[in-house]
Amino acid sequence: MTLTVDGLRVRYGAVEAVRGLSLEVKPGEIVGLIGPNGAGKSSTLNAIMGAAPVAGGEIRLDGASLRGRKTEDVARAGIALVPEGRRIFAELTVEENLRLGLAARRSPGGIDDVFELFPVIEEFRRRQAGALSGGQQQQLAIARALVADPSVLLLDEPSLGLAPRIVSVVFDALAAIRERGLAVLLVEQRAQRTVALADRTYVLSNGELRLTLGPKDASDTEKLVAAYFA
């Protein structure tokens, strides 16, 4: 399904975090969203999930409006978020964390499909999730989102705090997820790798889209971004 964001405005009290942002993510596509801290990246994702105050604009999933829907209903409509900081349930087991992902699943099926993508977490399925390493926790968070069998996957800085080797594991997994036909919206700080992976990458600043980059711009990412903000 296609996720469409049209003229989105997010406002916290007097602070406008997102000002008229529009983008579209089609099935089998990764769209990157990069920009400095406070640019409105996380606010955009939270607004899509119905967890941030939307002051204007529209959010649609295959044409059906999601604006004003409850967070859990957005999740049940087929949008899954891998939140910033992973937000796994440390006191629950790995398997219980994955079973939580089933809460939003409408199609039949269990948690076993995701082990193919992330074999490492199958080994630890009976362990407490808090005992996993940071990289394993990130894989668990993505796996938990995939268990819901979503059509759209939102990721909020999945590479944060990970060793370069693990970042590759995560980004490879995202490429595989794209192959499955999901629409992926990836918020990242690692600009160059994101531009290289994504079909399109938008640069966000002060709540507005400033620049669009394609995979061929990857090697020049920093130069292009710097030139734009200069």
Binding site: A51, K70, T71, E72, R76, R99, L100, A103, A104, A148
Partner: protein, 297 residues
Amino acid sequence: MSVSWQTLADALSLGGIYALMAVGIGLVFGVLRLVNFAYGQLIMAGAYAIAYASVWGWPSWAGILLCFAVVLALSVLMDRIVFRPLRTHSPAVMLVATFAIAFLMQSIAVLAFGQLGTVASSMGPLNQPWDVGGVEIRKIAIVSVVVAAVCLGLLQLLLTRTSVGLHMRAASMDFRTARMLGVRANRVIGGAVLISGLLAAVSAVMLTARNPQVTPIFALDDTIIVLAGVVLGGLTRPIAATLGGFTIGFASGLLGGALPTNQSQYLPTFLFAAVILVLLVRPNGLFARASAGAERL
């Protein structure tokens, strides 16, 4: 001080009942971050149901059924009218609101049933002693220990083996993330309120059997002690709340039975002094994980 078997059995049964009440309060706290002061008044309402059923000559099972119906209906009503509209407000407002509900229910009871109270005589047989190996023990003491153990066992199964239980546990750890995963807030809260109500109804039956004189302040003192126990144990985890409830119930049952009256009347002083001491050392409770945050904003 000397401890008889009867005192020990009584203390165990009080610990069991208080454990049920504690986990009832703890479950709702988990998902709503709300300490329900009106929990005791739910039990009081259930006790009146039993008492009036007995006055009307109903068989005791019908009285127990009525008790469950009344307590559950009131729990759901409380959730709909008070908890849900106030869910996003400050803990202080919610706390005072449940205080208001408690006060309100108590004054309704005074107005409707009078200050003096009603006797639930249908529960009388449970107060008869049983002869256990030459020692006389009140039936209710044994019954309540068994019932409490069964209830806690069932609850444990529900929390760990069902998806509703899993959702409830997740919601009490991190409500926001749980909702992002598709866990339905209203269903989880409704479930917690319902289970909490069931536990209140069970506690009402047990407390009525222990003390058939039902007044508007029935279970008030018990609830206060349980609240202390819940905080003592730790509110954020059902197990911790249960242990706290059991501990304080057992301790007060034991001390209340074993100390002479001129000392046991100071029981609340000792209990609450202990509670304050524990809170100073471990503000999140004795059995809470060190990292557990006590409040969600």
